[in-house]
Subunit: 79 residues, 2 copies
């Protein structure tokens, strides 16, 4: 079973990487970019075939390793 | 208009960051993880309100800055 994990900074947390991208886009002549936020995207290939168990396992992985839940949110999609 | 950009390594390109995550998950006792690939997730807030124009603009941004199209694929979602 494949799992997709999206890790994003919580709103209110400063995102210097996003700001750098916004600055670079402006320097390249792209106008009209109000805001940029950068997050992480992680694809996992799991041996687990049960959807509920896979979701529980991936959420546990997020809490323990993949996301810093103090400043980041995560979202899990299974396919 | 909000745009979400997913940048992933092309298949066949080595992903040491993904390998490191897989190793760390195994060390934490998560079994059954066959493969991990890490990508980037970028949220853009655009002034452009026309969907077709926004998509064209974001795809141009991906080719020029956000993705290295030699080794990476990108996917754009508008909302």
């Amino acid at each position: 079973m494949k799992a997709k994990v999206y890790v994003t900074l919580k709103s209110g947390v400063l995102d210097p990487q996003g700001k750098a991208i916004a600055g670079a886009l402006a320097a390249l002549g792209f106008d009209g970019v109000n805001d940029v936020r950068q997050g992480k995207y992680i694809e996992l290939d799991l041996a687990e075939t049960d959807e509920a168990q896979a979701r529980a396992q991936v959420e546990q992985m997020c809490r323990k390793l993949l996301a810093n839940t103090v400043i980041e949110n995560f979202r899990v999609e299974l396919a």
